[in-house]
């Protein structure tokens, strides 16, 4: 900001001093740290669930019918062009200085990767398998539930993971509009020149994001049907092309 001070001074005691200060800070504020983690997870889960409720049915129907492909495939590209800080800010005048503005922005960021990956996943299910299912007398609903969904699950899960990582990472910015979550430690630390608080928030949120990535990666592997590992690997690569860099998420 125009008249803003230069910010916290570099630590005089160097890295070891900073680590010591941070350890003391964590010890003194253990309860608050747990509370902020709880707030952060709650914001993220609410946003992810809403994003899934919007994106999954839409993409499943579009993918099953093969309609709206251009929109679904480009959703991820459009999503990347939306700066997260701008999204939170733009919701402010309508929703106010509260968690609703943050959740609105997080949902908007979460929808594109889920939409694109789910659409691609359903489209890439082998047409022959669907023909065979139809030949066995399955109707559209049965094909969607019994054939398309299980085969599409790994790539869908990959999209959900990307969205989740993005959401957890961006929830840090809730603090900018006076919200809770781990970003508070960073923003408050900046304001008071408390480097220990800044580092606590930064390390905690980085760990939470990496845990989300690894945890949902494990779920993704768990839902990959054993017999079709090679097909799914190919489909997953296709989805990663559709969401460039999306396999990793992050970088809000």
């Amino acid at each position: 900001m125009a008249g803003r001070a230069v910010g916290p001074l570099p630590g005089t005691a160097g890295v070891s001093g900073l680590l010591g200060d941070t350890a003391t800070f964590v010890g003194d504020n253990a309860g608050l740290l747990l509370q902020r983690i709880g707030e952060h997870v709650q914001l993220s889960v609410v946003a992810l669930v809403i994003a899934m409720l919007v994106a999954l049915p839409t993409a499943l129907v579009l993918g099953h019918t093969g309609r709206g492909g251009f929109l679904a495939i480009n959703a991820a590209n459009i999503g990347r062009a939306l700066p997260s800080l701008a999204l939170i800010a733009i919701a402010l005048p309508f929703l106010g200085l509260n968690d609703r503005s943050t959740i609105f922005a997080l949902v908007l960021l979460g929808i594109p990767p889920i939409l694109t990956n789910t659409y691609v996943a359903v489209r890439e299910v082998d047409r022959d398998v669907i023909e065979a299912a139809r030949g066995m007398g399955m109707n559209a609903g049965e094909i969607l539930r019994g054939v398309e969904l299980p085969l599409a699950a790994p790539v869908m899960m990959s999209g959900i993971r990307t969205a989740a990582v993005q959401i957890v990472a961006t929830a840090t910015l809730a603090a900018v509009i006076a919200g809770g979550g781990l970003g508070r430690f960073i923003v408050d630390g900046f304001a008071t020149g408390n480097n220990a608080s800044v580092v606590t928030g930064a390390v905690a949120v980085a760990l939470l994001t990496i845990l989300t990535e690894l945890g949902l990666g494990a779920v993704e592997r768990a839902v990959t049907p054993r017999g079709s590992i090679r097909t799914d690997a190919r489909a997953a690569r296709g989805a990663r092309r559709a969401v460039p860099g999306g396999a990793k998420g992050g970088a809000q």
Partner: protein, 221 residues
């Protein structure tokens, strides 16, 4: 956001055109520096990966972790050492370009047909000539596709560096939040999105120009 305030005050915006222009320029400079430096580092990393295959996994792993760490957290980790400086902002921004750029440069270089390279070697090209005249030109479309993604991502991330005091469009957003003045919020948000979209379209044009042979296929990254 105060009662009676207009949602967007055109008068205020037109009276502050100079400030708007300065912030747009600063935003572009921060973005250009980050993508430029990121491209140089990624090119070096990609060439190393091409030479020593085993580096592929560790480089992807490290750049992947950097990419996953939330931007505000990465900036925050650097602030205790370098303060609210340009260096803090740029080191963070560059870190985010590395995964996308390295991955795309490697993909581009690996996509160069082996027989084309053999023909060039047979014609007596030195390793440097091979790289500059054959490998890089043929890899260019995929590299530009990576630059496009990295640029659009960086334009969005630059707004976050306003929190660590760097001048750019993100400052309008923060000032608007602090002063509860929606005109500034809208100005900062809309202009940064517009900048990202403009850069995307511009680099799509570049992609089209440098790859006449894939135009008909229109293949994305």
């Amino acid at each position: 956001m105060e009662q009676g305030d207009p949602f967007f005050d055109w008068g205020w915006a037109t009276r502050h055109l100079d400030e708007v222009a300065t912030k747009i320029l600063a935003h572009l400079v921060l973005t250009g520096l980050a993508v430029g430096i990121g491209l140089l580092i990624s090119l070096a990393l990609a060439l190393l990966i091409m030479r020593y295959r085993w580096l592929d996994a560790p480089v992807t792993w490290v750049t992947g972790i950097l990419y996953t760490i939330p931007s505000l957290a990465l900036f925050a980790l650097l602030v205790p050492f370098w303060g609210f400086s340009l260096r803090t902002a740029e080191v963070g921004l560059v870190s985010y370009t590395l995964l996308i750029l390295t991955r795309n440069i490697v993909a581009g270089l690996r996509g160069v047909p082996a027989d084309v390279r053999e023909a060039a070697i047979g014609m007596g090209y030195s390793p440097t000539q091979l790289l500059v005249r054959v490998d890089l030109p043929l890899a260019l479309p995929v590299i530009v596709a990576g630059v496009r993604i990295a640029t659009v991502t960086t334009i969005g991330l630059v707004t976050v560096t306003a929190i660590i005091g760097r001048e750019n469009l993100g400052q309008f957003i923060l000032e608007g939040i602090n002063q509860l003045f929606s005109t500034k919020i809208v100005l900062g948000a809309v202009l940064s999105i517009a900048l990202a979209v403009a850069a995307d379209v511009l680099l799509l044009g570049v992609q089209w120009l440098v790859a006449p042979w894939v135009r008909s296929r229109g293949r994305p990254a």
